[in-house]
Amino acid sequence: MASEAPSHPAILLHDAVALSGRFPLLAGVDLEVAVGETVLIEGPNGAGKTSLLRVCAGLVALASGEASVLGLDPVRQRNQLRRRVGLLSHASHLYDDLTVRENVKFAVRAAGGDTDRIAGACERWGLAGRLLKTSASKLSAGQRRRVALASLTARWPELWLLDEPHAGLDASARDTLDRLIGDAGAAGVTVLIASHETEFVESLAARAVTVTGGRITGARSIGAPSLGVPPLGAPSLGVPPVGGLTGGPTDGLDALPGPGPGSAGVAGPIAGPITGRPAGEVAHVA
C-alpha cells in the first residue's frame, strides 16, 4: 500500500508493442496511469485489454517500446514487480486438490503477504465455515471467482489488474467487489479494470481508455461525453494529448473527477496520455 506519493507513475507505457508469435497483441500503446488512479480499459472482445493487463503484470514481454510499472522494469525486475501486482484474470489460479483456505494461504504466502489478513478477506467474500475446508474442485465458477478475489483482498497489492472482474459473480458479490474497488482506490491502490460491460464499472473509475486492435483509440473521463474517436488511420483531429507521457498531472483538468484526496496524495492525470500509433493518429481526451 502506498503511504507517500512516489515520484513515478504507477504505469508508464510508451509505444508498447507485444507479440504472440507473429500476432500483435499490442500495436503501439502509450499509457500513463498515476498512482492511486482507477482507470477503466474498455473495448470489444479481442481488442487487447487482457494483453495490456498481462504486460502490466510482467507476464508478456514487450517486443519493442518502453514500459515501467510501479517504477520497475516488467521484464528485468519481474519478480519484484509481481509481488506488488495482483491480476484477476479469467482463470482463478486455484489448485483443485487444495481447500479454499489452503489456496488463499498459498497465494498470500507465495506473494510474501500477511497471512493475518486471510480470515478477514475470506469473510468479506462469504467464504466461511465448511466452505473454507471445501476443495476447490467442488466449487462453482462464481465461488472460484470469490476465492480468487479473497486472495487478492488478502494480498492487497499496490496495483490491481482486474480483467472482467464482475464476470461470474452474483449481485451481492458484485456489490462487494464495487465496494472493495472503492476502498482500494481510497487507500491509494492503483486499479486497472478491463471490461466490455462498462455499465458495471463506470461508476468505479475516474476515466476510461478505449482499446481497439491493440491500440488505445480513445479516452474519456467518466460521466463526461467522449470525444469522437476517429477510425484507425484517420487523420489527427489536431487535439494535443493532455497530460502526455511527460505531461503534468492535471493540465487544467482539475475540475474533472479523479482519484480522491485519500489516494496517497497523488493527483493523477485525469485524462492521461492516450495516443495510438502511429503518432498523431489518435490523441484525444475528454
Partner: protein, 223 residues
C-alpha cells in the same frame, strides 16, 4: 530461495496426498511393470535376480515420467502456472521445490519397488548402503531432470508424449549408474566397483540441479 522451495514442495506434496494419484496409480503401475518383467523373464529365479537391478531402474524411470507429468499437470489447470508466476516466487526456489516434491514421491516409490524386487525376483541385498546411496543420488538426478524437462514441455499440447521423448534419453546415465551400483549391492561385489558409478551420479546430480536453478525461470517464462 529456500523459503520458496519449501512452500512449493509443501503445496505439491499436499496436492499429491489429497489426490492420491501416486498411491493409486503410479505405485501400482510400477509394481505391475515389475510383474510383467518377471513374466517376460520366465520362471528362472536366477535369471530374474540377475536382471533385477536393471528392471528396478527401468520401472523407476517409467514412474518418474508419470510423477513429473502429474507435477506439470497440476500447474496447467485453471491458469495455475500463471498464478505461480504472478506470485513472484523465486524461479530457482520453484524448481527446487517441485523437484523435491517429485523426489519425495520417488523415494517412497523406490521403497515399494525395492520390496517388490526382493519378493518377486528373489534378489538379496548384500551391501545395503550402496543400494540406499544409489537410490538417493539417482532420485535427485531423476527429479531434477524430470522437473526441468517437465517445465520445457509445459504449455505444449503435446507434452504427454514430448516429455518421455525428451526425458528418457537424458536419464540414461542414471539408469546405467544405478543399475551398476545395484548389481554391486545385490551381488555382494566389492564396494570399489560401485563407487565410480556413484561418483557419476553425484556429477549428474550437480549438473542438473545447477542447470535447473539457472534456467528454470527463463524456461517457465517462455513456456
Amino acid at each position: 530461495m529456500w523459503r520458496d522451495s519449501l512452500l512449493v514442495a509443501g503445496k505439491d506434496l499436499r496436492i499429491e496426498a489429497r489426490s492420491r494419484v501416486g498411491l493409486y496409480q503410479v505405485a501400482p503401475f510400477g509394481v505391475v511393470a515389475l510383474v510383467l518383467f518377471a513374466f517376460a523373464l520366465g520362471p528362472d529365479r536366477t535369471q530374474m535376480a540377475k536382471g533385477a537391478p536393471g528392471l528396478f531402474w527401468v520401472a523407476v524411470l517409467f514412474c518418474t515420467v508419470l510423477a513429473v507429468q502429474r507435477s506439470v499437470s497440476v500447474e496447467s489447470v485453471d491458469g495455475a502456472r500463471d498464478g505461480i508466476r504472478l506470485s513472484g516466487l523465486d524461479p530457482a526456489g520453484q524448481f527446487l521445490g517441485k523437484a523435491a516434491a517429485v523426489a519425495v514421491q520417488l523415494i517412497v516409490l523406490e521403497v515399494v519397488l525395492g520390496i517388490g524386487v526382493v519378493l518377486l525376483y528373489g534378489a538379496s541385498i548384500q551391501v545395503p548402503w550402496l543400494i540406499v546411496a544409489s537410490c538417493v543420488l539417482g532420485t535427485v538426478g531423476l527429479a531434477a531432470t524430470g522437473t526441468l524437462y517437465g517445465a520445457l514441455s509445459a504449455g505444449l499440447r503435446v507434452r504427454e508424449t514430448l516429455l518421455p521423448f525428451l526425458f528418457l534419453p537424458i536419464a540414461a546415465p542414471v539408469l546405467l549408474a544405478g543399475t551398476r551400483v545395484w548389481q554391486a549391492g545385490l551381488a555382494g561385489g566389492t564396494e570399489s566397483y560401485g563407487s565410480p558409478w556413484l561418483r557419476l551420479l553425484v556429477v549428474f546430480d550437480a549438473i542438473y540441479v545447477a542447470l535447473g536453478i539457472v534456467v528454470f525461470g527463463p524456461i517457465q517464462e517462455a513456456a
